[in-house]
């Protein structure tokens, strides 16, 4: 590969129009004209779509024909096409270190559309800075780091399980960490699922069994990731496992302990509609298939210990910390529903007959707290009229400004399932818009609309209350289409609550992944990198990244697994060699740099500082800390920064 070192700079500048995205604001012809005059520039051209095949070929041709030893591309952003042009430059026979990307779209045309003249000037300044920097860029060999061929999946819902099984099937060992006592996530709480109306448990339990039995999957339940160290290909994680107090291998599911236990608490599995003991089996198909003690409510009375025929219970079990080394991490911690308590106007928490959508799912399940009967929870009488309130908390600046995406569909589903159970019942669905964009979704919605007894009412409910002496609820609202105020007597009101991410800020900050303004995990690019995070080797899957139904969660999980595989099938990752470098002549071994480095990448040996390449992340903190200027950051030296500043200031 031809370098540029020592030679006189022969730099080519390529300015992209991006259709009118850039050229509509920046005067690209003027840019080309001006940058041609910059010292070291021997070639400059513009093209309508630089990232197209033709655009890339222009770069390759120019490198060859004009004997360029440096390339500056001024276009969108490095996160979008940085790699595209790096490849093209390499194709042309230059090192990628002889190329600089300048963002004149996101940083110029898209933010300065109100001032074309100044936008053009700014584009020129930016290019001038890159040209100035490029003159001193050196070529370095990449640093290689061995890859730990193992993956960590956080969260054992449908997304996490899918990702884990995909990886495991590809022969990659997987560590699956689940916070609750069982895997299954939200999906195991559901009755039937749209758009096919098949049984959620029947779909998900084979997947759970696969996880339980897969030789390549190590499952830690009641566990949390408490520490993450390292980098793409090489992460050290610490996992805290809370005591289960029941031996998974010994427990025979006889249930004697449960009968003996005197402590009863609301059952979270059906959102408090039923009760469970302090020692309990979360649900029949739980994985691992063993009882568990709820440490928070257990009084340590010991009755269960005496009842257990196989001595499976150990009340003194302690939490433990497990360390694992993995090459990649997939975050799939899912979602929670928006707390219905925040909507007191709908009577949740005041009237028993107002339930949230997850509770309603549990009422439909034959094994659920109402044995599959749709009844008034206040008196057990059949629910002949049910009102569903969509967008309960969603699309509302007072609650969640975004659309939760799944509630239109699950409400249509719930209304249809209700009608199957109560053929003479009436269902009213209050909605703003019905969002049914998906394969088979419109058809599903249509089916709900056509079901006799289901009435879609386009409007909002203002309040739900019980009139004195009435055993039903009064629902007041409006039908915007007829312009009439409506009042419905209902036996049951179901709140189609929105969904919120379940991403512990602490976990996010340990992983160093970004979250969006609502707390959902932030992908790198909504279209082109939807499962990648800013952190190398860390991917996201499922509802933690944004509202999603099961199909989408599964698709994204498989995508995340594929991305992890791409990384884990390699023997090593190549690392940018743009790290810190010591000038041994100048270094006097003071050690300030070593104490500054957050990665312990610097050691003082024989009175001189030494950088361990594999550890250095290239932050440059040590460089600016060194009192004698002995430390430099490759291709971002003090001289280069100063030259960039000068170039910006100099033009015109």
């Amino acid at each position: 590969m031809a370098g540029g070192e020592g030679e006189k700079p022969r730099i080519g500048v390529f300015v992209c129009h991006c259709g009118t995205n850039i050229a509509g604001v920046v005067d690209v012809k003027k840019v080309v004209e001006e940058v041609s005059k910059l010292p070291g520039v021997v070639h400059a051209e513009d093209y309508v779509y630089m990232c197209s095949q033709i655009g890339q070929q222009k770069i390759i041709d120019a490198i060859r024909e004009k004997k360029l030893n440096g390339v500056v591309v001024a276009a969108c952003t490095p996160s979008l096409h940085g790699e595209t042009f790096a490849k093209a430059v390499e194709h042309g026979g230059l090192s990628r270190h002889r190329y600089e990307f300048v963002s004149i779209r996101e940083y110029v045309s898209w933010v300065h559309w109100h001032d074309r003249k100044k936008a053009t000037e700014k584009a020129i300044r930016e290019i001038a800075a890159a040209v100035a920097k490029l003159a001193d860029n050196k070529v370095y060999e990449p640093i290689r780091r061995a890859v730990k061929k193992k993956a960590l999946v956080i969260g054992g819902g449908i997304a996490g399980m899918t990702a884990a099984v995909d990886l495991a099937n590809a022969g990659i060992p997987v560590v699956l960490v689940e916070k609750s006592p069982t895997i299954g996530g939200r999906m195991i709480q559901l009755s039937m699922t749209f758009p096919t109306l098949d049984c959620a448990q029947c779909t998900i339990t084979p997947k759970m069994a696969e996880v339980a039995n897969h030789p390549n999957i190590k499952l830690y339940t009641l566990s949390e990731v408490i520490d993450v160290e390292g980098h793409v290909g090489n992460y050290k994680v610490k996992i805290l496992q809370h005591p289960r107090m029941v031996d998974i291998d010994e427990c025979r599911l006889c249930g004697f302990c449960e009968r003996a236990c005197p402590v009863e608490v609301p059952n979270e599995f059906n959102r408090g509609l039923g009760k469970r003991k302090a020692i309990y089996l979360p649900f029949a198909q739980a994985v691992p298939s063993a009882y568990v003690i709820d440490a928070e409510h257990c009084t340590r009375c010991g009755l269960c210990v005496r009842a257990c025929p196989v001595d499976a219970i150990n009340l003194d079990e302690k939490e433990r910390i497990i360390e694992e080394e993995v090459g990649s991490i997939i975050v799939a911690t899912g979602f929670d529903i928006y707390p219905p308590e925040n909507l007191p106007e709908y009577g949740y928490g005041i009237y028993k007959d107002v339930v949230d959508a997850l509770q309603f799912e549990q009422m439909i399940v034959p094994s659920g707290p109402t044995r599959g009967r749709i009844v008034r929870l206040s008196d057990g009488k059949p629910a002949k009229t049910v009102v569903f309130i969509q967008c309960a908390g969603s699309r509302d600046v007072n609650h969640l400004p975004y659309c939760s995406k799944i509630c239109c569909m699950y409400t249509a589903k719930q209304a249809m399932l209700y009608k199957m159970k109560v053929p003479d019942g009436k269902a009213y669905i209050f909605y703003i818009d019905v969002r049914a964009a998906g394969k088979g979704y419109e058809e599903f919605y249509k089916k709900a609309q056509m079901t006799p007894g289901i009435h879609y009412v386009r409007g909002r409910v203002s309040r739900v209350y019980r009139e004195p002496g009435d055993d039903r609820l009064t629902v007041e609202g409006v039908d915007t289409l007829s312009g009439k105020l409506v009042k419905i007597k209902a036996d049951l009101v179901v709140l189609a609550v929105g969904i919120v991410p379940r991403l512990d800020p602490e976990l996010a900050s340990k992983l160093k992944i970004a979250v969006d303004e609502y707390g959902f995990a932030q992908e790198v690019h909504p279209k082109l990198k939807p499962v990648e995070t800013e952190v190398g080797g860390v991917f996201v899957a499922g509802a933690v990244q944004g509202p999603k139904d099961i199909s989408e969660s599964v698709a994204q999980a498989s995508a995340a697994a594929a991305k992890a595989m791409q990384l884990l099938v390699k023997d090593y990752v190549e690392k940018e060699p743009l790290i810190a470098e010591v000038d041994e002549e100048r270094c006097d071994g003071c050690g300030i740099c070593a104490s500054t480095c957050p990665y312990e990448a610097i050691k003082i040996e024989n009175g001189k500082a030494h950088v361990t390449p594999i550890l250095c992340e290239g932050c440059g903190m040590c460089v600016s800390a060194c009192p004698v200027g002995a430390m430099e950051l490759r291709n971002l030296t003090d001289k280069q920064i100063t030259n960039m500043v000068k170039a910006i200031a100099r033009w015109p």
Partner: protein, 124 residues
């Protein structure tokens, strides 16, 4: 009465953006006096969006009592009650008055604040 540009003026007086409204109907549902209106609050906002001056002739804009129920609950923070007040202002600033002191039967008995409020709302 010259209606040209009435939407712009209503937007300016209210300081609110009627185009944010997605016609959910929450304002009409919560309005404590909606059943006395000839058109409902969400329809008032719709007519403003469409620039239809018929909205100024509705009785509903005089029925609204600025109770702020819709303003607090509107999921798009449109402030329907504030826009309705601006519609009244638009008319009042052009001389319309909705309130005749001589109509009041129990002037002596009602608390002064009822009279002050009514005259502010209905006579500008």
């Amino acid at each position: 009465m010259d209606m040209d540009g009435f939407v712009e003026e209503v937007v300016r007086i209210s300081g609110r953006n009627p185009y944010l409204c997605y016609q959910c109907g929450m304002c009409s549902a919560v309005c404590p006096v909606a059943q006395y209106m000839d058109i409902l609050p969400h329809q008032i906002i719709r007519l403003v969006q469409m620039g239809d001056p018929a909205v100024l002739e509705s009785d509903a804009i005089w029925v609204c009592i600025s109770c702020m129920a819709c303003v607090d609950r509107c999921p798009r923070d449109v402030g329907p009650g504030i826009i309705i007040d601006a519609l009244r202002q638009f008319k009042l600033r052009r001389g319309a008055e909705k309130y005749d002191y001589f109509q009041v039967p129990e002037l002596g008995e009602a608390p002064s604040l009822a009279l002050v409020a009514a005259s502010r709302k209905l006579t500008g």
